[in-house]
């Protein structure tokens, strides 16, 4: 759909980077659904698991993944569901059906934020420059997800299995995010793929 524009659609890679040690890749148009509910309520967790095909992670700072669906724990009664592009409306409807009558909230945020992957040999250094959170593997293990600062804005940071970082950033801050990223990675070399 040509009418769609992801928050980072206009970003172009810095010119003449031969040796990129930080790589940015936007995963555009993912479905982002915010889910609220009581994890102690089995009716809630069962229904959600049935719709999503994967159980809600209830441990703080944890995530769950099944196929193209990923779930981030945000707080004891809040999750971010990342679903395949263009499926968010269906998933939202399915959840509303399955959770009818329960004290829950399902909110589409697909246009309000975007998913960005940061990788490369010096991505750890970049993260040290950018967030106050300790992204060392001993503290941010694979699959762990935290909401914290990123430069002067916030981000949801998820450590991926390949050692890279998935970040969820807010649309309105995305220009600032990229401005920061380009600046902070200048000494390492940045490639946008």
């Amino acid at each position: 759909m040509t009418s769609l524009k992801t928050p980072l659609h206009h970003i172009t890679a810095p010119a003449h980077v031969t040796n990129a040690n930080v790589i940015m890749r936007e995963d555009p148009f993912r479905g982002h659904l915010n889910l609220r509910g009581n994890p102690q309520d089995e009716a809630f967790t069962r229904a959600v698991a049935k719709v999503l095909g994967v159980a809600l992670p209830t441990q703080p700072n944890s995530s769950a993944e099944q196929g193209t669906t990923r779930i981030y724990w945000l707080c004891p009664n809040e999750w971010l569901l990342l679903v395949a592009a263009d499926t968010q409306a269906q998933v939202e409807a399915d959840l509303r059906d399955a959770l009818a009558g329960q004290h829950v909230a399902v909110t589409d945020q697909s246009s309000g934020q975007t998913l960005v992957n940061l990788s490369g040999p010096q991505v750890d250094d970049l993260m040290m420059k950018s967030t106050v959170y300790d992204c060392h593997p001993s503290n941010l293990g694979i699959g762990k997800v935290v909401q914290t600062t990123f430069a002067k804005t916030g981000a949801i940071i998820h450590k991926c299995a390949d050692g890279s970082f998935d970040l969820v950033i807010r649309r309105s801050f995305s220009d600032y995010f990229f401005l920061w990223l380009a600046d902070a990675s200048q000494e390492y070399g940045l490639r946008v793929t």
């Binding site: 206009h10 909110t107 246009s111 309000g112 934020q113 807010r170 649309r171 801050f173």
Partner: protein, 999 residues
């Protein structure tokens, strides 16, 4: 000029790599491995600057952070850095430095004569006492005083370099890589824990780099090199040389400044010049060592008087002997080692003047065996010379060190090395609020109790022997890493003869009459000054500090404080422990503003938030206004238009046809849950119980004090589902305010809030032709006035995109807000612009929006209100629910006596008497402009604009009891002398019956 003080061999410099540098316009040579100070000393440069207050000639005195005199103006132009210490500047080829002060130059300084003539008349507080009268002249005096005194100058040009910050986390942070720090790091490192080791010098080793000792039968320097290499090879250890830990903050948080390229040249060729490491550590080992104390005798500030350990460092580490004939004065054994080093370097030690009457033992014997004259029970009571030392006046003293007991004799010399004992570097420990404690055994302050997870190792704890420091380091490193000690250390015989404390060297004359005896070189504080301060009643050490300036500035009392405190204690007949210390504060040594700013400069200073349509606004010439962090189009000037012309055009387009504003920045909160209505009833002044799906309602939010806090329109999306909008600037505050009530007071309410501000893009278009525009784009909603009323919302398809259409108006015209997911926001905006083309649809910005709403008397929270207006003050009784069951937030405050007063400031309309006038916003309002100043203020103008459609200026403002003064004329005395007048009127200037937006 040759490096005539350079030794032919020895030291950690590379004689095969000569480097040229310029000092005060003259070219010199040094070597790779030199500091600027060691290279200057090698070249025999004596005077390096002038003192702060008395403009006395000063020379290099120390070799590191303790240096108080050799502050440089490094580099020129935009690269220049004011006030780094020459002792901490690594020499590079082409380095340029000059003295920071001295007029016309440091070597010949006119102010010195002021100091000499006025010296006796310049006690502490001199400038303030003298130049404060007459008061108005201080500004004039100050200009001259500042020019003559003070230190370096910052560049006024932009710094070409890059600085940044890194957030680091570790298990064990070790500060200082001398023997204790290295030993600690080796122990902690081998456990696999995450370790950071930082040292301010270019290479690890600290005192070992200038030591002739052995460690486990290995030369100390070699051991240090091996230890550094071993640590560098450990993946879990981060080694940060050239890194000064400048601050130690709460909960084991430390700030460290890494100088990454300063040693390579004035600017970094690439990358980051300096980096601040923000370190959160589980455990901290402080191995910051000790600083040698100077001795306070007459003229002890003459160039050529140096710290004994510094002299030894120059000899052993840099291959430089700062003089040919040296007199050593000592209170302890360290002076003997320096004397032995000087003799080994082939220079003359005239005598070791030892204040102790019976020094004995290993080093004393060695000195005597080397043929050095030892003068026990003596002191240098005065140095003689003009701009450099030529003689030391040596006299016998009593056993307490209080009195001169015989005739002084003169010893000819060009160097006096002073060893007054060691002061542990307790600064970092102090930063978190821990007061140092006096330790009689080592005659020094050591770190006191602390709440931090902090361990002390080595000289900072009064452990001055190398083996002791290594052992303590190993113990503390292991302890911090929760492990057992692995390494043992033996450094041979390090036995010493006990030291004698001496803080003020007696003179034949009383302190007040003797030549100046300096305590704090950087701030020109003398023993006589302290005595005067004490006599004038300043007894608390904190007061003495502030009266005399002792320990101020970049020096932070590194060399002077202990002597000053001891002198105060003696003057007051107290012990040093009773007198105590002042508290050292961050930064330990100065941190450049470049590093403090890091990358948060320019465009990165504050995030700019953009809407989905931002690129369109840019492409169409919008100028932007900051609203919170948002960049909102302010107005869209066409070529040749003035701002007012643009606003007139944009306003009239809305009033006559149609205009569009990007309203995406308004805060949007999605509210779901069966108690959502109840929640809204509680947080808004009006009722939401009966708001049906498909309807919108304006709401006003108050703080508990009854004052307006935010406003916005809330739409009912479903029985248990609402969408609240907030002001652009208030969005985050409202969200956390609402969350707070839900989480802390009303957890029983089944309501969830989710911010959707960024998800929705909002195209708000209004004007008589608004419906016609929408009709072209939307055919699945009945847009007729009867079916889709003012304050309704509908879901429909606009330009092929599923949208929420709100029929709400902030302009007073027929208006629609089309909301679509922001990924489609730009597309929607473009489609509406295209559809509106035949109606000359005009994009407008915040300024036109402000004019249009002011014509309608709609408030802007935060502009017309300032947290001191109730809804009633704003004339908005209509939005306050009278029969709501729950006492909504702020309601109870309405009946407080102050809030229910009838003469509070009220928000009113103001119509200028002269229709061509636009009253400046912020103008004060008075009833009688002829009243003498101070006039009775009635209030002020909060909003004021030219209204093109009405043909006159309009304003809103607060006026005391304004609601009862309709028709009165009030006045606005302006700063330029004009007095404007206006009539108090209804704030609704345009379409008072509200017919247009209902059409």
């Amino acid at each position: 000029m040759s490096q005539h003080n350079r030794l032919a061999q020895g030291g950690r410099i590379d004689r095969n790599q000569p480097l040229s540098f310029t000092w005060n316009g003259k070219q010199y040579q040094g070597y790779q491995g030199d500091t600027l100070a060691s290279a200057m000393l090698a070249n025999g440069i004596k005077v390096v600057g002038r003192s702060f207050k008395y403009s006395r000639a000063r020379g290099i005195f120390g070799h590191g952070a303790e240096e108080a005199n050799a502050l440089m103006q490094l580099g020129v132009g935009k690269e220049t850095i004011p006030n780094p210490r020459a002792t901490q500047i690594e020499l590079f080829d082409g380095l340029t430095a000059s003295a920071t002060n001295g007029w016309p130059n440091a070597d010949f300084d006119l102010m010195e004569w002021v100091g000499k003539i006025g010296g006796k008349m310049m006690p502490p507080g001199f400038y303030y006492k003298t130049f404060m009268w007459p008061e108005k002249m201080w500004m004039t005096y100050e200009k001259f005083i500042r020019k003559a005194a003070g230190y370096g100058k910052a560049s006024l040009e932009a710094d070409p370099d890059t600085y940044d910050k890194m957030n680091r986390h570790c298990d064990v942070m070790i500060v200082g890589a001398g023997p204790a720090g290295l030993a600690a790091a080796l122990e902690a490192g081998r456990t696999g824990k995450r370790v950071i080791l930082a040292d301010e010098q270019n290479e690890f080793g600290g005192s070992l780099l200038a030591s002739g000792q052995t460690i486990n039968d290995q030369p100390a320097v070699e051991w240090a090199e091996a230890a550094a290499a071993e640590l560098a090879a450990m993946e879990n250890v981060i080694c940060l040389p050239r890194t000064t830990v400048f601050g130690y903050y709460d909960h084991n948080f430390l700030g460290a400044l890494e100088r990454r390229t300063d040693h390579q040249g004035m600017t970094a060729q690439s990358g980051t010049r300096q980096r601040i490491h923000r370190i959160r550590a589980h455990q901290v080992v402080l191995a910051t060592g000790a600083i040698e104390r100077p001795l306070v005798f007459a003229n002890n500030d003459l160039p050529g008087v140096m710290l004994s350990g510094s002299v030894a460092t120059y000899v052993n580490r840099y291959g430089v002997v700062p003089g040919n004939r040296c007199v050593v004065m000592t209170t302890n054994d360290s002076g003997y080692q320096t004397a032995l080093d000087i003799v080994a370097a082939g220079r003359t030690v005239v005598a070791i003047v030892d204040v102790r009457h019976n020094p004995e033992g290993r080093l004393v014997d060695a000195a005597r065996e080397a043929g050095i004259t030892v003068k026990p029970g003596h002191a240098i009571i005065e140095a003689k010379g003009n701009k450099q030392v030529t003689d030391a006046m040596v006299a016998p003293i009593d056993i307490e060190g209080d009195k001169v007991t015989g005739q002084p004799m003169s010893m000819s010399c060009d160097l006096i090395a002073v060893a007054g004992g060691w002061s542990p570097v307790v600064h970092l420990s102090c930063h978190t609020g821990s007061r140092p404690q006096w330790n009689d055994e080592v005659a020094a302050f050591v770190p006191g109790p602390t709440l931090q997870q902090q361990h002390l190792a080595g000289a900072i704890d009064g452990e001055y022997s190398t083996a002791g420091a290594l052992t303590a380091g190993a113990q503390m490193g292991a302890k911090a890493a929760a492990s057992e000690v692995h390494n043992q250390y033996d450094c041979g015989d390090e036995s010493i003869c006990p030291a004698q404390a001496m803080y003020l060297v007696p003179h034949t004359k009383p302190v007040s009459r003797a030549p100046k005896q300096f305590v704090d070189f950087q701030n020109d504080v003398t023993a006589a000054g302290i005595e005067l301060a004490n006599r004038e009643g300043f007894e608390s050490i904190e007061h003495v500090k502030r009266y005399t300036a002792m320990g101020f500035g970049t020096d932070q009392g590194k060399t002077g404080n202990i002597n000053g405190m001891a002198i105060t204690a003696k003057n007051l007949g107290k012990t040093i422990a009773e007198t105590g210390t002042t508290i050292f504060r961050p930064a330990y040594t100065p941190v450049t503003f470049g590093a403090i700013g890091g990358r948060d400069i320019g465009e990165l200073l504050d995030p700019a938030r953009h809407t989905a349509m931002h690129s369109w606004h840019l492409d169409n010439g919008a100028l932007f206004e900051n609203v919170g962090q948002w960049k909102r189009p302010w107005y869209y000037p066409k070529a040749g238009e003035s701002m007012q012309q643009t606003l007139n055009r944009e306003c009239m387009a809305v009033r006559r046809s149609v205009g569009m504003v990007d309203a995406s920045t308004l805060g949007k909160i999605d509210i779901q849950g069966k108690d959502a209505r109840e929640f809204l009833n509680r947080v808004y002044t009006n009722a939401f119980s009966k708001l049906a799906p498909g309807k919108c309602r304006y709401g006003l939010m108050l703080k508990e004090d009854g004052m307006v806090f935010d406003d916005g329109v809330t739409a009912c999306l479903g029985d248990n589902h609402f969408l609240m909008t907030t002001t652009t600037g208030g969005a985050a505050g409202v969200m956390s305010w609402l969350e707070m009530w839900l989480q802390t007071e009303w957890p029983e309410l089944e309501v969830y809030l989710t911010s959707v501000t960024d998800h929705w893009a909002t195209c708000s278009f209004s004007g008589p032709n608004a419906r016609k525009v929408l009709e072209k784009l939307c055919d699945d909603v009945d847009l007729s006035a009867e079916a889709f009323k003012f304050m309704d919302w509908r879901e429909g398809t606009v330009a092929g995109i599923k949208a929420r259409i709100f029929r709400i108006s902030f302009t007073g015209e027929l208006a629609y807000e089309v909301n679509v997911p922001a990924n489609q926001g730009l597309h929607m905006w473009q489609q509406i612009m295209a559809a509106g083309e035949e109606f000359d649809i005009t994009p407008y910005g915040t300024e036109t929006m402000h004019v249009l709403r002011a014509e309608k008397g709609y408030i802007i929270v935060g502009q017309d209100t300032d947290g001191s207006l109730t809804p009633q003050d704003c004339g908005m009784h209509w939005v306050v629910g009278k029969n709501k069951e729950f006492s909504f937030l702020g309601k109870r405050s309405f009946t407080r006596p102050d809030t229910s007063r009838d003469d509070r400031k009220h928000l009113v309309g103001l119509k200028p008497t002269d229709p061509t006038v636009v009253i400046p916003e912020g103008s004060q309002i008075v009833a009688d402009p002829t009243q003498p100043i101070p006039m009775d203020m009635l209030g002020h103008v909060t909003s004021s604009y030219w209204s093109e459609c009405l043909g006159h200026g309009i304003a809103l403002g607060t006026v005391k009891a304004g609601h009862h003064k309709t028709g009165d004329t009030v006045y606005f005395p302006l700063a330029d002398g004009r007095v404007l007048a206006a009539e108090i009127c209804s704030p609704v200037f345009y379409d008072p019956k509200g017919e247009r937006h209902h059409d």
